[in-house]
Symmetry: C2
């Protein structure tokens, strides 16, 4: 199985996701500047993995301080540096703030030393990493029975007959410090000897399904089949999909789900073929301040993501393009939202 | 507007579709071998355009005969040569047979000369070309009122408010000798000053929508927006699509429609959003010998169409792939099938 992120005790080891799927290569980082650069270049991506990387980046940024005064200065400098790596990543800002707070709390204690602050920060980083991995495991634990139930209802027991799962984009281990969110029940099932076949949508325009999801599942020993996005209906119509599970960027208070463009279409197909549509969502992605999907702004991205593929043009110059990064799946198409605390069927309190 | 194919009086001019979308270049062919090569290399594609090209290829293959005996020999040789260009293309075999029959009928007449046979064949070629263009116009004439009605029902009149049309793959002028089949009402509307916005699915894996449909509509002065296949649901959910129109490879007797992979998904989305789903089908594509979609075999194509994007690898080596070339849309998702003779709402006689 691939590993997104590892703290070696003195360096941060990241799987270089810019090299996927062609090469599986780690980079080892020993300064905050290197972490900033890795986050900016998308060596690491996915909210949880970015957050934990930034936390360790904070540690790397302050660990050479020779006095408490120098530590105070480098703490602020490192926070500013890392925060600028991907300004819109909420998790990044949150992780930096959390580490700053922990450090400052320790700095205010009378017995504070450089060593005590560094120790406190390192413990916090490890807690964040472990917590993220635990959230993944818990989501997997709650989601797996739903996948099994969906399979059994169609006469597939996961022994002689593999259960068919379809996913879109990458809400996988490559986005987290654990076994992913949407992929969590898949890895759990595999660990328990339950046979699955996973259909991975390639997910245009940026092909996260082809580049990331298919790669990590294949490396994890799971039977994965890559398809183009427009093949999902065909696969479903042939009875090969028992359940759909996807991740989410944001869940509104009413249960509407914002996720990678294409998710809405998959949800509608699932409804048509009476296939359960599950959303794996750590509670941190549930935004109770956002009443419904209508209140979620949808970013339009650059046209050349659509008209070019890795710099090769696939459309004539001057062709107009629509390139929304996300879509919103209304709650009534969502069978269940699975968090680390359990299963929620929207709409609800 | 682009022109797929033109007979100059002595040569066959084809738009080189292998050069699209990067360059708009004609090739001029003066021998049957060149026509064979052009069909094989997909310089020309689409059943009607292939058929007419092959017919002119027959003419080019026999025109240098110096005696009736030599003409008989070259007729057979040319038929064999052209028939091998794309052995599974039904229209190709049919066109070659038709020209052979016309030539042989003339050869059996007592007054036959090389000149009289060539004249008879050239007239037949021109008839085939004209007939194909007329079929396109007739389909457009029957389909346009349906598009207008769908627009008006949503408050779009095609004057101040453009009518939104979505199409998948290319059933356009580039596949025919006229204004295409699915695109026919679009060109007709444009000719009459009716404003449309056409959403073109890129159509993975081979990107006919991006490479062909977006190109030909843009060149024809039509407001076209290219989207990835997984964006269709988003565009529909925003109320931007009033009707869907696609072509077809084969319509079964009960009205089930086989077409490019992805068509079924678009039909399901259209149903979900209560958008009419129209199929443009020359009667030659209706196969009454085929009772239903279940009887249509679905070709699986090479994995590297999915794992590579114009030769750039997008998935890790060894990833399994599903790559069906077509899917079948059941008749109950089809609002209407539009032929050159009128509108058919399946199931029917």
């Amino acid at each position: 199985m691939l590993r997104t992120l590892e703290w070696t005790g003195s360096t941060l080891k990241l799987l270089d996701q810019t090299r996927l799927p062609n090469a599986v290569v780690d980079v080892e980082l020993s300064t905050a500047i290197e972490v900033h650069d890795a986050i900016r270049r998308l060596v690491v991506r996915g909210a949880p993995a970015i957050g934990v990387s930034a936390a360790y980046g904070m540690l790397l940024g302050i660990r050479d301080a020779r006095s408490l005064d120098e530590l105070r200065v480098t703490l602020t400098e490192t926070a500013d540096l890392l925060g600028s790596a991907r300004p819109t990543a909420v998790n990044l800002a949150w992780a930096i703030q959390r580490i700053s707070l922990v450090a400052q709390t320790e700095l205010r204690s009378a017995a504070a030393t450089v060593r005590s602050v560094l120790e406190r920060v390192e413990v916090e980083c490890a807690d964040m990493l472990r917590h993220d991995a635990e959230v993944c495991e818990a989501i997997g634990g709650h989601a797996l029975p739903l996948l099994l139930a969906a399979g059994v209802r169609r006469g597939r027991d996961g022994r002689d007959n593999p259960i068919g799962i379809l996913t879109h984009c990458n809400a996988g281990l490559l986005a987290t410090c654990g076994i992913g969110t949407a992929t969590a029940p898949i890895y759990l099932a595999h660990r328990r000897g339950i046979r699955l076949t996973v259909w991975a949508d390639e997910t245009r325009p940026l092909l996260q399904g082809a580049r990331l999801t298919a790669t990590e599942l294949h490396q994890g020993g799971i039977d994965v089949r890559l398809i183009c996005d427009d093949m999902a209906a065909s696969v479903m119509s042939r009875g090969l999909v028992d359940a759909v599970i996807v991740g989410t960027d944001r869940v509104a208070a009413n249960g509407d789900v914002a996720n990678k463009i294409g998710t809405l279409g998959v949800a509608i197909l699932a409804r048509h073929f009476q296939i359960p549509f599950l959303v794996a969502a750590p509670t941190s992605s549930i935004d109770l301040a956002c009443p419904s999907g209508r209140d979620i702004p949808i970013e339009q991205r650059a046209a050349d993501e659509v008209t070019r593929f890795r710099s090769v043009p696939i459309a004539m110059d001057g062709i107009a393009v629509d390139n929304p990064a996300f879509d919103v799946t209304p709650y009534d198409l969502v069978t269940a939202i699975v968090t680390e605390h359990g299963v929620w069927t929207p709409p609800a309190e």
